[in-house]
Amino acid sequence: MAASTEPVIGMKTDLREIAADVVARAMRYGATSAEAIAREGAEFSVNVRMGQVEVLKESGSRSLGVRAFSGQRAGSTYTSDLTGDGIERMVRGALELARVTSEDPHAGIPSPDQLGSFPGDLKLYYDDVYSLAPEERIEYARRAERAALDFDPRIKNSDGGSFEAAIGQYVLANSHGFVGEYGRSHCSIVAMPIAKADDGSMQSDYWYSSARTLSELTSPEEVGRTAAQRALRRLGARKIASTRVPLIFDPQMARSLLGNIFEAVSGDSIYRGASFLQGMLGKKVAGENVTVIDDGTLPGGFGSSPFDDEGVPTQRTVVIEKGILKSYLLNSYTARKLGLKTTGNASRGITGNPVTGRGNFFFEKGACPPAQIIAGVKQGLYVTEMLGHGVNLVTGDFSQGAGGLWIENGELAYPVEEITVAGNLKDMLHNIAEVGDDLEFRSSTAAPTLRIEGMTIAGE
């Protein structure tokens, strides 16, 4: 029997009792196993535009969900009505649904020996995010926008600056006696300036700082200035002719590529044959300079938690090691489907079966400073923006709208837009020529600057 006995860090709530009660009721009404999720959260946000408060939003909410099994059949229900009556209807509804679903030999909650919680404080909750007086919160947003507007006379307009804070408490309970709970906090500052050229054309961009505690946010001024620089460097962007040159993906865009790799190694994609990485375990899928890791246990990480959404402790999983595919990311269902062991990557919303979630999913950094990568390119494109949904994980085909900066003789020469960058993820993983040393966690997925060869730019 596994149960979390860690002291609960976070808000004081009655969510533990509620979740345990839901499980007990489900079992009383005939479930063979059951799992309940209870969530409570509060959010605050302010947007300041052209120096004036534009939107102030503040609220809290609670929700409850249950998954009940009748043998190998599952039913899920949820409610925002946490009264006795609301909970009763939710639990009975789940059992009714479990009568119409199919026998799935692989369905079920994890076995008792798999349950547990990462020991120790992962530093996910800081109450300082909610400690500021309203005026101070507004001031964070105002300062970020002002710094952007003051940075250059060509910053003539703005979608504003914003500050957000959120705290949440999460409880998972199941019929093996597991009850786990943790709290998480989050705060962020964003600036969204608009630059205008003499010919009237406009370019917008944004920058942000995001953290679990106020003390780790960068200053609003720095956020605003960076956002302004990003918008300004896009002014005068032009289209270029179709060509094949090296592409340098900045860390934001490299992160977006890595997000596709996450989907491709998710157990759900693998067992359905919906991934170009299916059947590649133990094989070489990338160059030797490619190591990709998922780690749900990094202290303070945006993707960290002591246990996953099935109550399995999170862990560090090496996904790709020096180009060899070492592991998929699995929850208990996909693990059973594939005859493997769960990696603690179950993720679920308030309702439905778990899917695959990421901890902190990152591309291990290399040795090259990004400036040196750019300096080493005679002609190429520094990709700073991608748009669209042109990724096909079944085939690996990749074609996205893009924008960035043209590199001429190792220097950033001029901005480029209205083009596409295309290739195939299978080839792209093998064609990573250089890996930057600039890995920084700005969200739960992170990658350094990457230089990739052999892709096509489509333009004029």
Partner: protein
């Protein structure tokens, strides 16, 4: 909804006097306008995967959002508990956007005209779950029967019933009961080393009988399977500028991305859209007339009233190539001195309304679709799309073709894979040289995202030809 049927009155015991009290509290610090948005939503979904019903789910979410406007400022708070003290607390929180004594009185409520766009005898969320099991299982077998190379099928049926009540301090009082249902099928085909996928779906503000009579599951299943099989033989798409023909229906997502978002009033009020200041100017060829129309019966993007209680309407955005209007909500209409077009929408009670599209489409022209294809020497015919995206400020948009073909010497030849189209909103439609006589709306699959809020929409277009567009393939 009469008072008797008003869920919020009879189930939650809310009275018109309560509503007056909440609004008075919301305006207590001097706001110009306040409104309350009550929502009670039931939803259900069921899915077949590997020929098994692996999941069935249902749920309820209810709450009330309180909004206060003061000049250009918005205060917002919500409660997922409809108890009077909780709504009062939300009203007090939202009120603080304004500073000063109360200035506006709450007007007496009057219910305006509302459309009757959803002809649904009984909402599908209440339908027997066994009937839904039957629907998705039929889709599964139809897709597998289509071709032996179909190796994976997932089909789902999701529906919801959204009951809303909106009251405003200007006397606005509106209610609506909005059904929505959507069927989706996704297939994977395999042949030797080649894999491909196809997807299809549809629905609208319809009941379950629509999927029994009008659009049986097999129609979506066969379409998804057909696309997957065609893609097995697809070759690499060309790269560069060329003539592009868009097929009718869902490719209308081009309008949604290229111009629709740029014509939402909030972006134009703030001067952040590539279309700012272009009213009355030419933004498309004279063959193009584009409208947004929230009043089409049963369509996914249709609503009797918007989420601010205003009736929806047909709004001409582009008439014979000239930019005629923006899509507006109450706030932008007040600040810009322009009419409210009934486009104030929100995802839920936890979200602030903003100008959004409903059903957006281009009217039919005079060209025969076959003549349009015949007129192309070398180009791309895009028959179906995945999703799209736009940068509002510089107007650049992207969308990905899920089914596309090469056109050579006026004939459709090979299927293409990996085909992305990019363009610039304010000039993409100036390149439209032919417009077909075959306007079609999509099957009812669209969901539009803006500022993190999703709302159901519909798009449509006849077959059109653009003389030049950038195709982002990989072929040399």
């Amino acid at each position: 909804m009469t008072d008797n049927q008003n869920l919020f009155f009879h189930k939650f015991g809310i009275t018109p006097q309560d509503l007056q009290r909440y609004l008075t509290e919301a305006l207590s610090a001097g706001g110009d306008y306040a409104d309350l948005y009550f929502e009670y939503q039931t939803s259900s979904s069921i899915a077949v995967d590997e020929s098994m019903i692996k999941s069935a789910s249902q749920g309820i979410s209810a709450g009330c959002g309180v909004r206060v406007l003061a000049g250009e400022r918005t205060g917002y708070a919500y409660s997922d508990d409809l108890a009077p003290e909780k709504i009062m607390r939300a009203a007090r929180t939202a009120a603080l956007i304004a500073r000063g004594p109360a200035q506006q009185l709450v007007q007496g409520f009057h219910e305006g005209h509302a459309h009757q766009l959803y002809q649904v005898p009984s909402p599908s969320v209440d339908a027997d779950i066994a009937a839904k099991v039957d629907l998705v299982m039929r889709a599964d077998s139809a897709a597998r029967a289509y071709d032996a190379r179909i190796v994976q099928v997932r089909a789902s049926f999701a529906d919801e019933l959204r009951q809303i009540m909106i009251v405003g301090s200007d006397g606005t009082f509106a209610t609506d009961v909005q059904p929505l249902a959507r069927f989706s099928v996704m297939c994977i085909a395999k042949s030797g080393e080649n894999s491909s996928r196809g997807s299809a779906g549809g629905g609208g503000r319809v009941g379950i009988e629509y999927f029994v009579k009008d659009k049986p599951p097999a129609s979506f299943a066969q379409e998804a399977a057909r696309q997957a099989i065609i893609q097995l033989d697809a070759r690499e798409a060309p790269a560069g500028e060329m003539e592009v023909v868009l097929g009718p229906g869902w490719p209308g997502v081009l309008l949604h991305e290229a111009i629709g978002h740029g014509l939402e009033a909030d972006f134009n009020r703030k001067g952040t859209s590539a279309f700012t200041g272009m009213l009355g100017r030419r933004v498309a060829s004279e063959k193009c007339t584009v409208v947004d129309n929230g009043t089409l019966p049963s369509r996914r993007g249709s609503i009797n009233v918007d989420d601010e209680g205003s009736p929806t309407q047909e709004t001409v955005l582009i008439e014979k190539g000239i930019l005629k209007g923006y899509l507006s909500d109450k706030l932008s209409s007040r600040l810009m001195g322009m009419p409210d077009t009934g486009n104030g929408r929100r995802e839920s009670y936890a979200h602030i309304p903003m100008p959004r599209m409903t059903n957006t489409y281009m009217l039919s022209g005079n060209d025969n679709p076959e003549d349009i294809i015949r007129s192309v020497n070398r180009g791309v015919f895009a028959a179906n799309f995945g999703g799209g995206q736009v940068d509002i400020t510089n107007g650049k948009f992207v969308f990905s073709a899920s089914e596309a073909y090469l056109i050579e010497n006026g004939r459709i030849t090979a299927p293409l894979k990996n085909c992305t189209l990019v363009g610039n909103g304010p000039d993409a439609l100036t390149k439209v040289s032919m417009v077909g006589n075959d306007l079609m709306l999509d099957e009812g699959i669209g969901t539009c995202g803006k500022d993190g809020q999703s709302v159901p929409v519909c798009v449509g277009i006849p077959t059109i030809k653009l003389d030049s567009m950038t195709v982002g393939g990989t072929a040399r």
